[in-house]
């Protein structure tokens, strides 16, 4: 039997029973669509978290004062007591490392901001001009802190979008003088609204020169040093160099914790990647169920078409030919189901993206391929048994039945 004839014959047999064919294709389609949509959700979650993390900055190495004994990244790192201060000099020293592209010291404290009779509590971040680059922040208006000597600084502040709204309302904020703690600052820039993200909420931040912040909080220590490596490959060398420099500066004792953004990202990536895989596995079960359904329906079909199979044998069809015809039919139904499911799944993912624009629900390529592959494989695999049964049918009995 020629291949084109085989395909036409199988198609005829499939369309000869539209209800059975429709149900089968639908079952397969739902399985594939489930894989596509669920992996889109899982991978979307992964991308969402990664995006949020990347928005902190790229190629970051973060220095925290104090040594975490257990290692790794945990919230306790933020509140460790320091035997030795992490100073602005430390931060400046890091700039000598070859793998370090930029560094920004960060001193953080809470204070009050007042302007025009309004008063509110704010988080004050003391830093330098490099901060905006390292953290990849955007300005809505004005300019950021000027570069210059880190130990000095003009009384200038950059405020978050929400602070601006609350302190100045609709009126102009640029150039206005605000009072933070016991000092007066002129507002030179306003940060673009970024919404709630991981880490600090920059909308409610007031950024001032690091020297002034330390003076305001009467402290010499830094909260963090943010270091940007020259490239992604330079992150590990940068970490090593930073470690070495700080160890030397702290009399041979490593009393800081150094984490890389990559390590944190990788952890989340692995975690959420595993979750996507698990979700895909669950969806694959529905595909297997669809495959068993294909087998069931094909077996019923063989039973219903015994007379036809007997006839085909009498007309000179070999068992191989009949087996092939049934297998082709099963494969065609699976392909149709897989293609339909693929389209449905993508439509579903598109709807999710439409409803939640912030959520990048794109099905990953591997999942789509795996879904389609599993559909075809199960369809054909479960088509083998009915096809063999059809091929083995005794023509005498098949013809006698009627």
């Amino acid at each position: 039997m020629r291949t084109t004839d085989l395909i036409r014959f199988a198609r005829g047999a499939a369309t000869g029973n539209p209800l059975r064919t429709t149900l089968l294709v639908l079952a397969m389609a739902i399985g594939v669509a489930a894989v596509v949509v669920l992996t889109a959700l899982g991978d979307g979650a992964r991308r969402y978290v990664l995006n949020e993390f990347s928005s902190i900055g790229s190629n970051l190495v973060i220095v925290l004062p104090g040594r975490s004994q257990t290692g790794g990244f945990n919230p306790g790192n933020a509140v460790t007591s320091t035997p030795r201060d992490l100073t602005i000099d430390d931060a400046q020293a890091l700039l000598r490392a070859s793998a370090v592209y930029r560094a920004a010291p960060l001193a953080v404290g809470t204070s009050e901001i007042s302007a025009g009779g309004k008063l509110r509590e704010v988080t004050v971040a003391g830093t330098t001009a490099e901060f905006i680059e390292v953290r990849r922040l955007a300005l809505a208006q004005g300019r950021f802190l000027p570069s210059g000597d880190w130990r000095r600084g003009a009384s200038e502040a950059v405020i978050g979008a929400k602070i601006r709204d609350e302190m100045f309302g609709r009126g102009p904020a640029l150039g206005q003088v605000v009072r933070v703690g016991d000092r007066r600052f002129r507002v030179v820039g306003i940060l673009a609204a970024s919404g709630q993200g991981l880490g600090m909420n920059t909308d409610e931040l007031v950024i001032v020169p690091v020297a002034l912040a330390q003076a305001m909080f009467n402290s010499n220590t830094l909260f963090r040093i943010l270091v940007e490596a020259t490239s992604r490959e330079a992150i590990e060398p940068a970490k090593a160099q930073v470690t070495e420099i700080l160890r030397l500066r702290h009399e041979g004792e490593l009393d800081v914790t150094i984490i890389t953004q990559d390590a944190v990202l990788a952890t989340f990536d692995r975690l959420l990647g595993t979750m996507t895989l698990a979700v895909a596995g669950i969806a694959a079960i529905s595909l297997a169920v669809a495959g068993i359904l294909v087998m069931n329906v094909m077996l019923v079909s063989v039973a219903q078409r015994t007379a036809e199979i007997g006839l085909l044998k009498a007309l000179g069809a070999t068992g191989v030919t009949i087996g092939k015809a049934f297998l082709t039919e099963a494969a065609m139904l699976s392909v149709a189901g897989a293609v339909l499911g693929f389209a449905l799944g993508h439509a579903g993912a598109a709807i999710i993206r439409q409803l939640y624009p912030a959520y990048p629900a794109f099905p990953p390529g591997w999942a789509v391929l795996a879904g389609l592959g599993t559909a075809l494989l199960t369809g054909i695999l479960f088509g083998v048994l009915p096809a063999r049964q059809a091929a083995r049918l005794d023509p005498v009995q098949a013809l006698a039945k009627r």
């Binding site: 004839d5 009498a314 007309l315 000179g316 069809a317 070999t318 005498v396 013809l399």
Partner: protein
């Protein structure tokens, strides 16, 4: 080598029903020459259908040798037997056995499709067959849109499309009224007139009497092998049914 087309020697066929054994055919020896017209008759259970299935290679004997055109076909593999069926044997069934979802033309083309013949050649042969059997206007009709006689004509066209040496007809008129049955038999006999060996299985004495040679089966053995003289066969319609 013998000139006989079909040679059966010591054919045995035993069916097991539970503990008991039923001998459908016992040590059967029959030879049928090329171009013969043979009626196989007998009451039901006499083994005539079993014989037909064996002749059509749909069933294997438990013993004995079946030679078709000088070749021992009992030892062939199932795939080889399917080839022989495709090339040498045409079946006509009592209940037509047309594929309901295929049109008349497609039903006729089915053996050629299974044999892998090129579409152009298929179309040509189907067109000629439709013409020969007066089905030109029914080519695209499905079996349920055809009358019984038309269906059997489609079935005969299908049986002959591969130009087989033997036509095996199992009660070909069993589901037809007298007039259409007569027409179908005439078609089959015309084929025989052109040299195709025709073997008709029937329990209808009148139908069997049309054949110049009758094999009467009883209990799996051959009771009579009767050959009629030529002038006797000339007027088949005069016999009672």
């Amino acid at each position: 080598m013998n000139s006989e087309l079909i040679e059966l020697a010591g054919i045995e066929r035993v069916f097991r029903l539970g503990d008991s054994e039923v001998h459908a055919l016992r040590r059967l020896d029959v030879s049928i020459g090329a171009g013969e017209y043979v009626a196989v008759m007998g009451p039901s259970g006499s083994g005539k259908s079993t014989l037909l299935n064996l002749l059509g290679l749909l069933d294997r004997p438990d013993g004995g040798v079946y030679r078709l055109a000088g070749r021992d076909v009992t030892t062939l593999s199932a795939e080889e037997q399917a080839r022989v069926r495709s090339e040498q044997i045409g079946f006509v069934f009592q209940s037509f056995h047309l594929v309901p979802r295929l049109s008349a033309a497609e039903n006729i083309a089915l053996p050629m499709i299974l044999a892998g013949i090129a579409p152009a050649q298929r179309a040509e042969r189907v067109a000629r067959a439709l013409c020969d059997y007066g089905l030109e206007n029914r080519a695209d009709h499905r079996p349920d849109q055809l009358s019984g006689g038309q269906r059997q004509r489609v079935a005969i066209a299908r049986a002959t499309i591969m130009r087989p040496a033997v036509i095996l007809a199992d009660e070909p008129t069993g589901n037809l009224d007298r007039a259409t049955g007569e027409e179908v038999m005439r078609l089959l006999e015309e084929l025989n007139g052109r040299g195709v060996t025709l073997i008709v299985v029937t329990h209808d004495g009148g139908l069997g009497a049309r054949a110049p040679r009758q094999l009467l089966m009883e209990d799996g053995t051959l009771r009579h092998d009767r050959r009629r003289l030529a002038e006797e066969a000339a007027d088949p319609c005069a016999r009672p049914t």
